[in-house]
């Protein structure tokens, strides 16, 4: 037997030093990415075009941004099912604000408020999740299930269930703008990733985050403000989801509270895990999450572009998630 292993206990699956482990793991994702790229280059018509890059960047940005937040939450051994609902909520608020009387009278202020207030609302959702989890000790799946169910409902109540359409070039820049020829939201996702990576690897918050996920009791007894750290993670995740929600609304020039962010939690969790996050906490591979999001996006793209039927695509997606996680798992040994 090559692995130092037993009858399947966790104890054993972790017998490699961290360095080689993490490099291999990153490679696992990269290898998967490479395979997909090669496949596409060979079989997908017109894959090697700038426009393809453009399309994929604009589509991956929201998944990536939410996945970054999800990674933080997963690092505390939590999970956030409410990201999609928070997207819907933030997305519903923005047009309400800049189309309000105030927003039409003072367009500049209206736009600013349309960015800021929805993100504050999103942050409050995160605060709600975080408080439920850290102060009331409600298990994350359940705590975030509450907003998962009712958050979208609140968004629909606010908009009376109506689709809100608008045309507002300033707001739409978030979704349609370009910098150096590449979509603005792609740059935004990158910037957020860098910022959060810095937060995780260089700041006291990041260190506490990983400690809380790794051993909560030990972290508290070493002086980590456990509750604040957890709340911080959920607030950040909700905040990032809020940004993603605004992006979706901006691209579509319409806010559809019923659909915005639908099933985003699944994509984000899948991206985080494919990117190397451990559901039991203690690890926050931010760029892994980006990689995971890219893989998921490319899989989607590949299946669509090659005319694979929706139902078969679902099965293929399932197989790829399992395979990607398995590759990492296998490489751990």
């Amino acid at each position: 037997m090559s692995d130092g292993s037993l009858s399947g206990g966790k104890a054993v699956s972790r017998t490699t030093p961290a360095l080689s482990l993490s490099t291999l793991r990153t490679h696992g994702g990269l290898i998967a990415l490479l395979l997909i790229l090669v496949f596409n280059a060979l079989f997908t018509p017109n894959f090697l075009q700038v426009q393809t890059l453009f399309v994929n960047i604009s589509q991956v940005a929201t998944i990536a941004i939410v996945a970054i937040g999800m990674t933080l939450v997963i690092a505390t051994a939590g999970i956030d099912l409410s990201v999609g609902a928070v997207m819907a909520l933030a997305g519903a608020l923005a047009p309400l604000i800049f189309q309000s009387e105030f927003g039409t009278v003072y367009p500049a202020l209206g736009i600013a408020a349309a960015f800021i207030l929805p993100l504050i609302a999103a942050g409050l959702c995160g605060l709600f999740n975080g408080v439920m989890i850290s102060y009331l000790n409600v298990q994350p799946i359940i705590a975030t299930l509450i907003l998962f169910i009712s958050g979208r409902g609140i968004a629909q109540v606010l908009t009376n269930g109506n689709l809100q359409t608008f045309s507002n070039p300033y707001f739409s820049y978030l979704g349609t703008g370009k910098i150096l020829g590449l979509p603005f939201q792609g740059w935004l996702a990158l910037a957020l990733a860098v910022a959060v990576y810095w937060l995780v690897s260089r700041t006291i918050f990041g260190r506490y985050l990983l400690a809380v996920g790794g051993n909560e009791k030990a972290a508290r007894l070493s002086g980590a403000p456990v509750r604040m750290v957890k709340i911080g993670a959920y607030v950040l995740c909700a905040f990032l989801s809020g940004i993603a929600g605004l992006i979706v609304v901006a691209i579509n020039s319409a806010s559809d509270a019923a659909r915005n962010g639908n099933l985003m939690e699944l994509d984000a969790i899948a991206a985080a895990v494919v990117g190397g996050a451990l559901l039991q906490g203690g690890r926050a591979p931010i760029f892994g999450a980006i990689l995971g999001a890219i893989i998921i996006q490319l899989v989607k793209y590949t299946l669509l572009a090659n005319g694979v039927e929706d139902e078969v695509a679902l099965i293929a997606k399932a197989a790829i998630i399992v395979l990607a996680v398995y590759i990492q798992q296998a490489r751990k040994e």
């Binding site: 292993s5 260190r207 009791k217």
Partner: protein
């Protein structure tokens, strides 16, 4: 006579780093065999290979006259090896009964668990250890000591040919240790072999027949206990000559005639909801105050109260002359208090984090400015303490879970020393630590108080308390009942102080 177990030429490496190198072990039927060695010598690894937790790289194992290649702990139990692992491995949420009979439940109709019988059987086994508790209650509601005894009870009840005990006494008090020895004798007389791992060398002389010593993954000696001395064993473990050690002598760390400073911390009749009812303590600068008592006497609870883990519901605390209320560990740390916890695995290490990150966890507020960690400084400090405490690690970025128990303990000690607390609370700082490391740790503690800081030392080893503490506060059932002053404390005196108050209460 044919041996019950023989392991030969055992090799095992964890991702390239050898933990065992051609190690061997041989146990005769009906023998109590000790396995000793410094932290990280490979004792636990040897056991885990034998019981199928790890797979070996190479080597032969022969058990009960057959080639044995045991693939899982379940299989080990089937073939007659019962094991108490070093890290308590029980299920705290489940009842005591379940933890004892799990996998061997008495059945009715060949299918359904016969619960009355299971409870009865569990009570009976536990009564052999002098424990009378509600066996239907979740195991987690009992103390570490009880849990340890339950683990032992389970192993003993399996009717094995070989019972392995990896540091069974590390959380037991003297009385419980005596009970355990009785059980070991009983096992022995019924022909069962016992493999006994312990850092308490005195124990070995009481119950063992032979001793195998390991060092750096190798077997260095096998001795018959009646023909050897403690010194020889230590020499084997450390890989030095007996003479050298004798010359160096065992440093006596006992309190000398030195200057004590101001009163650092003083409590009057504090209580918590966690079975601490009336606790009085004063610690002066430069002083080590020991907390003595039997298991469950409330020592850990007292420490938790001082560190702000359990809320103080009554009484006053004065810190450096000012009235003070601990609110949280973070607050206590900010007020320059530190606490090394008793349960390393559950409350100490963050297993996936590196040695470096573990060591600086409590220091982070001081290491960072406006939220940013100064990593250069961090590395310097970590380097310093790795050297100072002689921590065995391949580099500071190695995950702490890969270190041996003793080295993990040193990292945790370093975590607290690095914060330079004025008052350091140490709950069982040398539990599961080998002699060498133990001496080092004790020396570090002494140096530390000599710098004008105070230490509260909790230890189940009376010897450590008697020799290490300047004063011992004796606890009983959540009350502080007596104070003994060094010099002049003897183990006898301590035992008497504890026993006396016990008698008083029951009189």
């Amino acid at each position: 006579m044919q041996s019950l177990l023989s392991m030969n030429g055992m090799d095992k490496a964890f991702s390239g780093v050898p933990a065992l190198r051609q190690a061997c072990l041989e146990i005769a039927p009906g023998e109590v065999h000790a396995l000793i060695g410094q932290n990280g010598a490979g004792k636990s690894t040897m056991i885990k290979i034998l019981t199928g937790v790890y797979s070996k790289d190479s080597g032969d194992i022969c058990f009960d006259g057959q080639d044995a290649d045991i693939a899982s702990p379940g299989q080990a139990q089937k073939s007659g090896i019962a094991t108490i692992y070093q890290e308590l491995n029980l299920v705290p949420l489940r009842s005591v009964t379940e933890n004892v009979v799990m996998g061997y439940e008495p059945k009715r109709l060949g299918m359904f668990v016969n619960w009355p019988e299971a409870h009865r059987r569990t009570r009976e086994i536990l009564s052999r250890f002098g424990i009378d508790i509600d066996v239907k209650a979740p195991l987690g509601t009992y103390s570490t000591a009880i849990q340890q005894l339950v683990a032992i009870a389970r192993a003993v009840s399996l009717n094995a040919k070989l019972v392995i005990m990896d540091e069974p006494t590390s959380s037991l008090d003297d009385r419980e240790v005596e009970v355990l020895f009785g059980v070991v004798q009983e096992l022995k007389s019924s022909g069962v072999s016992v493999l006994y791992v312990s850092h308490f060398l005195d124990e070995l002389f009481k119950i063992c027949d032979r001793v195998t010593t390991m060092r750096d993954g190798q077997t260095v000696s096998v001795r018959t206990i009646t023909e050897t001395s403690k010194l020889e064993l230590i020499a084997d473990m450390l890989g030095r000559n007996v003479e050298d050690i004798e010359a160096a002598g065992m440093t006596d760390l006992g309190g000398g005639e030195k200057q004590l400073g101001n009163v650092l911390l003083e409590t009057s009749a504090i209580a918590t909801d966690q079975r601490l009812f009336e606790f009085n303590l004063s610690v002066r600068r430069g002083e080590i105050v020991g907390l003595g008592g039997l298991l469950g006497s409330g020592r850990t609870e007292a420490a938790r109260a001082l560190f702000g883990v359990d809320a103080v519901t009554q009484g006053d605390i004065r810190l450096k002359g000012k009235s003070w209320t601990p609110t949280s560990p973070a607050g206590a740390i900010a007020d320059r208090i530190g606490m090394l916890t008793e349960d390393r695995k559950a409350e100490g290490i963050v297993p996936d984090m590196s040695v470096r990150e573990n060591m600086t966890l409590a220091l982070l507020p001081k290491l960072s400015r406006s939220g940013r960690i100064n990593t250069t400084r961090e590395r310097e400090i970590v380097d310093e303490y790795i050297a100072a405490l002689g921590i065995k690690t391949s580099d500071m970025d190695q995950p702490i879970r890969e270190l041996s128990g003793g080295n993990q303990q040193k990292v945790l000690l370093a975590r607290w020393l690095a914060t330079e607390p004025e008052l350091l609370i140490l709950d069982e700082p040398t539990r599961g630590v080998d002699v060498g490391a133990k001496l080092e740790i004790q020396a570090i503690i002494r140096q530390y108080v000599d710098r004008g800081f105070g230490v509260v030392l909790i230890s189940s080893e009376f010897e450590e308390l008697v020799e290490g503490a300047d004063r011992i506060v004796v606890l009983q059932d959540g009350y502080s009942v007596a104070t003994l002053e060094n010099p002049g404390i003897t183990e006898d005196a301590l035992v008497k102080a504890i026993a006396h108050h016990h008698n008083e209460e029951h009189a």
